[in-house]
């Protein structure tokens, strides 16, 4: 019970974050509690949120919710209409105190909040896809190289089928339109947002530290400070990786070419290696 309460308070603390927007909401809530005359509005914007908040604080509710979606308990707070409550209180105050009244509330929100566009994850878009151009360039290069090789080998290019039955049968030979490429962590999120033709030995699931996954390729490529060329190439061969993309800044011990991966390009700060067909 106490542990649950601690967790619930922790969720609330995390939700509150920095700034004092929750305090502004609390003030708006009290204002409506005192001033709101309309019965329905009072029921929905005062009593209902109060009930939701009480439910949120109850350990049994927390226990049940977490059985289904453990890390999303904060979403119960989404049922409290904070934005509308603050905006309604502001509208009422504006009606009485005029624009200066609204300006004070606006100033409080600006002072108590955090500017979303200052978030470290907001960057100028490099293209219309809003993903790094390097991810696009690397994928285009790999797919183009793969298509040329297939054409030279006389293998007919098989377009992506509407109904990919072959993946059920595990017939990898059918998939000559696809490639498997290991890409560094900073490109992992974006590669398959650009094309489903590039499969990967590890994906985003490895990039979230709290998720309990293990992957050999990831361990050799990302976790190791210096990449062991021999160990990495062996694992890549086992997973059927035709291509390897490495950040040029990442140190590599040994020559990948000796172990079956030849360098074919340097693009946007990345070295691209292709698996040499074995005799």
């Amino acid at each position: 019970m106490i542990a649950s309460m601690t967790n619930i308070i922790g969720v609330l603390e995390q939700y509150r974050g920095g700034g004092f927007l929750l305090l502004i909401y609390a003030a708006a809530f009290v204002y409506l509690f005192v001033k709101e005359k309309d019965a329905t509005a009072r029921a929905l914007f005062v009593y209902l949120p109060l009930m939701v908040f009480i439910l949120f604080l109850l350990p049994p509710v927390y226990a049940i919710y977490c059985k289904v979606e453990a890390d999303a308990y904060y979403r119960l707070l989404w049922l409290m209409p904070m934005l509308a409550t603050v905006a309604l209180a502001a509208a009422r105050i504006t009606k009485k105190a005029g624009i200066p009244g609204m300006a004070v509330i606006a100033a409080l929100i600006i002072a108590g909040g955090k500017y979303t566009y200052a978030n470290v994850n907001v960057l100028h878009a490099e293209n219309r896809l809003h993903i790094p151009q390097a991810a696009i360039d690397v994928c285009d290069f790999i797919l183009n190289d793969h298509d040329i090789l297939m054409a030279e080998a006389g293998t007919p290019r098989t377009p992506l089928p509407e109904f990919p039955e072959s993946i059920l049968s595990g017939d990898e030979g059918f998939w000559d339109d696809r490639v498997k490429a290991a890409v560094p962590g900073e490109l992992v999120h974006f590669t398959r947002q650009y094309t489903s033709r590039v499969n990967m030995p590890f994906g985003r699931e490895m990039m979230v530290p709290q998720w309990p996954y293990f992957n050999d390729v990831y361990t050799e490529m990302e976790k190791a400070e210096v990449i062991d060329a021999e160990a990495l190439s062996e694992i890549l061969k086992e997973t059927g990786c035709g291509y390897l993309v490495l950040n040029a800044a990442k140190p590599v011990e040994g020559d990948l070419a000796e172990y079956g991966y030849e360098a074919i390009a340097f693009l946007d700060g990345y070295n691209i290696f292709r698996r040499v067909p074995e005799e």
Partner: protein, 389 residues
């Protein structure tokens, strides 16, 4: 030229048809209560509801989740609904709007915002709000918002569009998998993939560039509806009223400065408006509040609702239809949304029923939340029966 054609097609499927389809539910309303905002919002509800109801059987009953089949069926449905809705959606008589003074006043009146923009103060506030909305749109267009979950949702759209298979290929790494029950029934990424396929545009461009241009105004439209109903409480419709634009400005500021943590609805709105979770909290939840606020008032005294008895009945029919569609739509956004939406609707109906002493609100809500209950039951059933590949 090709880019222009794609843009036009994108707008046609993503904006025009849903808004046109809104003419159908608006038929339930008395003419005095029809407005562009109600039509647009209910049109998206129609569009989302029809998509979810169509997509779930296709997802579950075809061998690999036949996206091509879904596109063909949904295309026909939306064209039909769009044509019917366009034919059904009658405009207000010009004389009515003309009586509202300035151009800005006529536009707002057409949007169903009766608090006009005749006064200088109100006009100034509306300009500030529109500036904030434009700012959000420009930022959405020119900036990239990194979110790890995109590696799942956006990749799912790309896979569906490129391979024609829904939720049977691992989005993170590729390769076959069994149906991903946990996420598959929340099909907003497939709705986006549909827009991508119909417009011939890359699904990631649609997601990151086009969707915010439609969803930000849509979410604000819901807020404007909610705000206009809330500020109407004062019981007057003063021509120079500044309460609603003040409401919208504060709402916009709250959104833009709401990045206090990564869990707030405002963070989800700005950083990932294309994801179902964001639409759930920024579109559906305020909409449910709006629906039940109007419902409660429609049962109240005429001076509060502003409606005659006959019109109150028609208004309620529209609102219950909207609530039913919201209930169907919840599952489109996120798997937990039906539980939360159904629970919220249940609580609201109890509060409203007690407040206006009308048991009928609660009883009808029991029917309204049925889609949420069915969805949740199906979700749990699949979760425990579908074996990993």
């Amino acid at each position: 030229m090709a880019a222009v054609i794609k843009l036009v097609l994108c707008i046609f499927w993503m904006v025009f048809l849903p808004v046109a389809a809104g003419g159908i539910p608006c038929l339930l309303l008395p003419e005095s209560r029809r407005s562009f905002l109600r039509r647009a919002v209910s049109g998206y509800l129609v569009s989302f509801t029809v998509f979810e109801i169509t997509a779930l059987p296709v997802l579950l009953l075809t061998e690999r989740g036949d996206f091509g089949l879904l596109c063909r069926i949904y295309m026909a449905e939306m064209l039909l609904l769009g044509i019917l809705g366009a034919a059904a959606g009658r405009r207000r008589k010009p004389g009515e709007a003309a009586g509202r003074g300035s151009f800005a006043g006529r536009v707002l009146y057409g949007c169903g915002i009766s608090a006009g923009a005749q006064g200088k103060k109100a006009k100034l506030l509306w300009v500030i709000y529109l500036g904030l909305l434009a700012f959000k749109l420009v930022m959405a267009l020119t900036h990239t918002f990194f979110d790890g979950d995109d590696a799942y949702y956006v990749a799912s759209s790309v896979i569906a569009d490129e391979t024609g298979s829904m939720y049977r290929i691992l989005p993170y790494v590729g390769g076959a998998t069994s149906l991903d029950v946990r996420h598959a029934m929340a099909m907003l990424p497939m709705w986006i993939a549909f827009i991508a396929r119909m417009s011939g545009t890359h699904a990631t461009i649609v997601t990151h560039t086009m969707i915010p241009l439609a969803f930000h105004p849509l979410n604000d439209a819901v807020l404007a509806l909610l705000g206009s109903e809330l500020v109407r409480t004062a019981g007057r419709e003063n021509e120079s009223d500044s309460a609603l634009p003040a409401f919208m400005i504060i709402a916009a500021l709250w959104q833009v400065f709401g990045n206090v943590s990564i869990y707030t609805p405002e963070n989800f709105l700005i950083m990932r408006v294309w994801q179902g979770k964001s639409m759930f909290v920024n579109f559906l939840i305020p909409l449910v509040f709006y629906i039940y606020l109007c419902l409660g008032r429609s049962y109240g005294r005429a001076e509060v609702s502003g409606l005659t008895e006959e019109n109150s009945g028609r208004e309620r029919s529209f609102l219950f239809a909207a609530a039913l569609m919201a209930s169907c739509t919840a599952g489109l956004f996120t798997s937990m949304a039906p539980v939360l939406t159904g629970g919220l609707m249940g609580l609201m109906s109890i509060y409203c029923a007690v407040t206006v002493r009308k048991r009928r609100i609660f009883l009808r809500t029991l029917i309204v939340v049925l889609p949420c209950i069915i969805y949740t039951a199906l979700w749990f059933y699949l979760l425990f029966t579908v074996k990993p590949f």
